[in-house]
Symmetry: C2
Subunit: 383 residues, 2 copies
């Protein structure tokens, strides 16, 4: 429970079935900060929030079933119309409403359907509504993603985060939508510094298919309704934990995923080298299908590393899966394929370590395998 915030979610009819409209409402205007997609094509909600919303807001309206991306000025106008209606119902200003959308690109929002749903949505607001709110933004997600932590040493402070993920999950700002709420009092300037830094350690470290969404949005809200008992360090640590946990939930629910690959590239000369290699390995369809097949195919891993276009010495590379070393000095060492296959089959979460033996920098990423179900989900997503 976040003091000073209420949540709700309803099935408004944007989607044929299921919850599709969620509302977060704050007792007073609260500061927020956001990270938006780096895709050049940005959804209407991003353009709207950046152009029209105030710094302190009272409400966040989230919908699934329609991305409201590539809808031009009309798409932004649709949000303005909805903001005006919602503001009237909540007795707030229109510029105190933020939006976030997820779903199919290129379709306009069904404004009348959404407006017709607003009375029910507002009526359902509750301090315990975070779960329905989280469910309202799911698309191909198979479960809602909620993390809630009480801050240590400050019994009255809470951080709660919700996210949706599944597909179009990319290596740079890898979530589609994630919202973190806290009643811990936060200065706007500090929020603005914290979110990008912690985002780089969490949502930017995951990858499902390497595609960057037009809608990626991460937001942090502070109601400030709890007393600030705990120190800044404890808050930061808790927030980092919540964000990392949400990011991992997104990977674990990656479209069609049967495996989560926890990849560490270490022994790099510089962090940038480790990151480039990690991103290339995490994005390789051949590596990802090998993990789906429980095939300890380290050759595809080193080939992907070599394709990262950064300097390293292939003849020093060591590769291990679940702690079993498969290659050292860039060449295969004797290992039991059978044992590895068993290890990879038995575990849903698999450690993959690539040691460049070149320095002390490292980078970790979390990705999934590439499976029949990913194809199935995405070959038929719109129909």
């Amino acid at each position: 429970m976040i003091k000073g915030a209420r949540f709700s979610g309803i099935a408004s009819g944007i989607k044929a079935a299921g919850l599709d409209l969620g509302l977060a409402f704050f007792d007073r205007a609260v500061p927020h900060t956001a990270l938006y997609t780096r895709n050049k094509v940005k959804a209407a909600h991003i353009l709207y929030n950046q152009r029209k919303a105030a710094n302190r807001v009272r409400a966040l309206l989230v919908n699934s079933g329609c991305a409201n991306a590539c809808t031009g000025e009309e798409g932004i106008g649709d949000l303005a119309a909805i903001a005006s209606e919602l503001a009237g119902r909540l007795n707030i200003r229109a510029d105190e409403v933020l939006f976030a959308s997820t779903g199919v690109i290129g379709k306009r929002l069904p404004v009348e359907t959404i407006v017709a749903g607003l009375p029910g949505l507002v009526g359902a607001l509750s301090q315990d509504g975070l779960e329905v709110f989280a469910r309202a933004m799911m698309t191909t997600d198979t479960y809602q993603k909620i993390v809630e932590e009480r801050m240590p040493g400050a019994a009255d402070c809470t951080i709660a985060g919700v996210a949706k993920g599944a597909g179009m999950i990319n290596p740079l700002l890898a979530t589609m939508l994630a919202f973190v709420f806290t009643d811990y009092p936060l200065e706007p300037a500090r929020m603005g510094r914290l979110l990008p830094v912690l985002g780089r350690e969490s949502f930017e470290r995951i990858s499902v298919d390497g595609d960057t969404s037009t809608n990626d949005t991460v937001m942090l809200f502070s109601t400030g309704s709890a007393p600030a008992q705990a120190g800044a360090g404890a808050f930061r640590q808790t927030l980092a934990r919540v964000m990392k946990a949400l990011a991992l939930m997104i990977v674990r629910d990656g479209e069609g995923a049967t495996k989560v690959i926890h990849l560490t590239v270490k022994g790099a000369l510089r962090k940038k080298v480790a990151e480039a290699i990690a991103r290339r390995i995490a994005g390789s369809p051949l590596v990802k299908t090998a993990f789906f097949g429980c095939d300890p195919n380290w050759g595809r891993v080193i080939a992907a590393a070599g394709d990262a276009n950064v300097p390293f010495d292939p003849d020093k590379v060591e590769i291990a899966i679940q702690g079993e070393v498969l290659a050292r000095g860039g060449v295969e060492i004797p290992f039991s394929e059978e044992k590895l296959k068993e290890l990879m089959t038995a575990n849903r979460e698999i450690e993959l370590v690539v040691d460049l033996h070149d320095g002390n920098a490292c980078y970790d990423m979390h990705t999934t395998d590439l499976t029949f179900d990913y194809i199935k989900i995405n070959a038929s997503y719109r129909s």
Copy 2:
């Protein structure tokens, strides 16, 4: 038939079944030029050819079933041993032998098996052997890839190319192995200029899965055994056609592909912008699965373009599939989803045009859809 060249292919036992060893033999030492993978991890045959082979060569030995990559100095030593044996049989110098390998990474070549196969391979050399040679280098390819053209105006000159592709096909030097032979007399310096230029127009314009192989090799050989009747322009045009045809054969036989996507990005301010956007679209799993599903999902196309990290105006973009415009000015225009679905279902080769309406530069690429069979092939490739 290439005058001055003979070819053969046998099942030596590197693979459990099928042809796996091919030989090209030239009547006299011929000039050659090669393009090798840009992957930092290079197969032993590339390192060997670059370090040990002479400029003019007599023989090219190609094997499938083992990439001889990530095998260290031992892998290079294996090739030296085979070169020595083969040179003895052919009565040539060891440094007149070139190699190329394809197959699983990280395994040593079975040198004894290969050496045992050499007498049969040499004995089978024939002027008509190009087809068995091409088949000997197939891995997951479903058919051999051969293009043979007589040069117009020069009845006695021929260009013949063979290639293998299928998987680990990437946007930059996209083939695994391709060899082009001609009896047209070519100066080595001219060969060295022509191959990279024509490579950029052919093998570098295709993409199957975006993974760059450790073994990518394109070679051009000129026996010079035909009289040089035709002009340099005619030769260049024919060579360009042969290379483009081979590249398209590789895409058409992409692992698991059911569709070939002929993508053109036009109206760009600069060619670099068009190329970056084309490569990003051609590499997007979401775009590729949409084509597999015959889903005219232009939103994924524009989202991929926006993810290319180059400047363009999303509000000017026009997208057409098979000549039917789906979006203009960055937003959807009315079209019949049913008609598009039918068009995409009925055609194996599909035109996708993205017009940025920003300038006059363009770039075209050829890629495949992403299918269940791609996963199937690659989840079980080694077993």
